[in-house]
Amino acid sequence: MCALDVRTADLFENPTHRLAAALSLDVSGSMSGKPIEELNRGVGLFYRSVQQHALARHAAEIGVVEFGSGARVVRDFEPVLGATPPQLEISDLYAGTSLGSGVQMALDLLEKRKAEYRRVGTSYHQPWLVIITDGDPTDDSHVDAASRIAQLVDANKLTVFPIGVGGADMSALAMLSPKRAPLRLKGLNFEALFEFLSRSVVAVSTSRPGDSVALPTANISTWAQL
């Protein structure tokens, strides 16, 4: 009689389904002082709370783009597990707010990451784009970015979280999010925002085929308004 057991050495370990989240963050002069400090604290909290979840920390990959008058990749996509959060600084080089450049660069980064997933056969969830800005765009780059986002969102290929801080131009943000109305942060409550985002990462990364993922939107009104 052979025993009712198996050789565990013959089992596979598969990579977890990935969730790529791109953060496109405003570091123009108007963010200096308290806002950038709170933003850094929020991003740090995001990394840490995702790292604490048993599954989400293997699933989530975060990429960070900053923008002012131009845009720059702060962090290419990397697994959140073992990553340290970036410290964003206000750059004197960035005199304006080129919202569209930041968005375009984040979308390019996402496309590149998805291509890498496909090349190595890793499955992935619908990727995210989180946009945080506090001012009026100083150019029209967001118009092109808006049509690119509209195509992706219509084809169900992207989830956008547009967030306005202080006196942000909400109509420009609304153009970038055809389905979801942009949120205006109450004060500088970045902590609550990133708490919400990390809970949403958990919700998506533990979803199963055929699930419609419900984001934890219950307490949004305590830290943001539509």
Partner: protein, 343 residues
């Protein structure tokens, strides 16, 4: 009654609720069923959609009904007279019946479908959505139907989707003499048993199926549930189902009792498994007595490899007198008959 030979197949299956549903107190949305009769056997496993409210009823009813449907129509499926469209129609009728009894709309019963029907000559694979079918030939597992997902990990296809017939994959395989097992599973069980990048199946699939050689179907059902609980559930949040089909043990040649591969090699005068390196002589004896595998293995060496008894004695330390007794005692072994005919 069909003209095909009586089925020499055994089957077992188990579904275990995943951590998500266990924590939420919601039912397991996986289901599996076996249907036997008229010289054929069919197994179906179904994974109800998480977003569909009544998919636990959908997967249960579809597994039961489609197992019977596949078995009854195996000849038509094998010859091509039963089409994808008619299978989707049959599934739609099951769902329509559920709507009458339990209410809701057909979409509330969304479920994937993975089925295998076998008779003496053919295996018919029916597959819609994710999940997996593995065929084992000569101890080596091969993915014969891979999961179909959308671009994203949480997208797949269901029998209730519009255009389901386009996504239903139908495959007819001619059974070869070395095909020993089929293994079906739902998406949740793929984590440890399916290598997504290489599109390969774990050797463990054959190890699970081979349990049916020595144990009853009931015992293997229980052991499968235990295996899923211990090994698969910790690696996923999803419900998990595994079903195994195994041809009569006489068809299989001797396999390494550890990893169930069929290849052996000589290393330092002793025989070892070429895949896992286990020393065969140690695996052949249990509590100082030779296991049933020892006899099969000797038949394999004589019949398939043409080894002399002297050579076997040197490699296995089993005495020639014992070897002769084993060979005399089971002339029903098909491989031994072949070797006798060759001489």
């Amino acid at each position: 009654m069909t003209l095909t030979a009586a089925p020499t197949w055994k089957a077992a299956h188990a579904s275990v609720i995943g951590r998500s549903h266990a924590q939420a107190g919601t039912p397991c949305q996986d289901a599996a069923a076996v249907s036997r009769g008229d010289g054929a056997l069919a197994v179906c496993v179904c994974d109800g959609a998480g977003s569909a409210a009544l998919s636990h009823l959908g997967s249960r009813a579809l597994a039961d009904a489609m197992a019977v449907h596949l078995r009854e129509h195996i000849d038509g499926l094998a010859t091509g007279s039963v089409t994808q469209e008619s299978l989707v129609d049959a599934a739609a009728q099951v769902v329509a019946g559920l709507v009458v009894v339990s209410g809701g709309s057909p979409l509330d019963y969304a479920s994937t479908l993975v089925g295998v029907a076998v008779n003496g000559r053919h295996a018919v694979i029916v597959h819609l959505g994710d999940g997996l079918v593995v065929r084992v030939t000569a101890g080596v597992p091969e993915v014969v139907s891979a999961p179909e997902n959308g671009e994203f990990a949480n997208e797949t296809f269901f029998v209730t989707c519009p255009g389901a017939a386009m996504h239903l994959r139908l495959r007819v395989l001619e059974l070869g003499p070395l095909d020993t097992s089929f293994v079906l599973m739902t998406d949740g069980a793929q984590g440890r048993l399916f290598n997504r990048q290489e599109n390969t199946a774990s050797q463990v699939t054959e190890q699970l199926a081979s349990w049916l050689d020595d144990h009853t179907e009931e015992d293997v059902c229980g052991a499968l549930a235990q295996f899923i609980n211990d090994v698969i559930v910790p690696a996923t949040f999803d419900d998990c189902t595994i079903a195994v089909l195994r041809r009569d043990a006489r068809v299989a040649r001797f396999a390494c009792p550890g990893c169930r591969r069929w290849e052996f090699q000589r290393k330092a005068k002793a025989l070892v498994c070429a895949a896992c390196g286990a020393p065969v002589v140690e695996l052949l004896s249990e509590w100082g007595r030779y296991t049933a595998h020892a006899g099969e293995f000797v038949h394999h060496l004589v019949g398939e490899r043409g080894w002399s008894l002297h050579k076997i004695e040197r490699a296995t330390a089993i005495r020639r007198r014992t070897l002769r007794r084993w060979i005399r005692s089971s002339t029903s072994n098909p491989f031994l008959e072949r070797s006798v005919n060759n001489e």
